[in-house]
Amino acid sequence: MCNEHKFGGLWDDPERIKKYEKLFEDAFPGQTALDILHRKPAKDAHK
């Protein structure tokens, strides 16, 4: 059975964002976005 999925309006839906954050936290513990994309972040790249 599929869960009901919403599409669109994500950025105006803090609860859905929170749910997604938790999903990613559980699926990728301790990983950054760049880790998931298999990229290496340079230290202090934004400075």
Binding site: N3, H5, K6, F7, G8, G9, L10, W11, R16, I17, Y20, E21, L23, F24, E25, D26, A27, F28, Q31, T32, A33, L34, I36, L37, H38, R39, K40, P41, A42, K43, A45, H46
Partner: protein, 148 residues
């Protein structure tokens, strides 16, 4: 150059959902797109990179995979974006950029190539792109907080 248009790297989208040092900057940047302050461009390479990284990750349970893929699609659908598709001869820029910095991966050079074709900066949190002096001779590369 279109001063309020940016090519958005895939790490910006994932950066809004994954809590790390870049999250605040990524969220602020995407909100500027939503508020029509900026125009955001992506391509099949941006969506493809995100989808592939989930689809072919052996460490994610298949039951969760579909949930995460749904998140990726929801992020894309929820964001006001223009999808860039190159046309004939556009890709001749690629070889110019490939020579600019051999350390940058092929997929990242494609992102940079699309930004160059569009004549707009690329926004990323990827240190390799942000720090590449060779690439900066051809395109502007910005950390999201630095375009706010």
């Amino acid at each position: 150059m279109h001063t309020n248009s940016f090519y958005i790297d895939s790490c910006i989208f994932l950066g809004t959902i994954i809590k790390d040092e870049n999250t605040r900057a990524c969220k602020s940047f995407i909100s500027r797109i939503q508020n029509d302050v900026f125009i955001g461009y992506i391509s099949s390479f941006v969506t493809g990179e995100m989808i592939n990284s989930i689809l072919y990750d052996d460490n994610i349970k298949s039951t969760i995979k579909s949930e995460i893929l749904h998140v990726i699609l929801d992020m894309i659908i929820s964001t006001k974006l223009k999808n860039f598709v190159p046309i004939n001869n556009d890709m001749k820029v690629y070889s110019e950029l490939r020579k600019a910095d051999s350390r940058i991966s092929e997929s990242d050079i494609i992102h940079a190539t699309y930004a160059k074709i569009l004549d707009i900066p690329i926004v990323t949190t990827d240190g390799m792109l942000l720090k590449s002096q060779g690439l900066k001779k051809h395109i502007d590369v910005f950390y999201p907080a630095n375009v706010l």
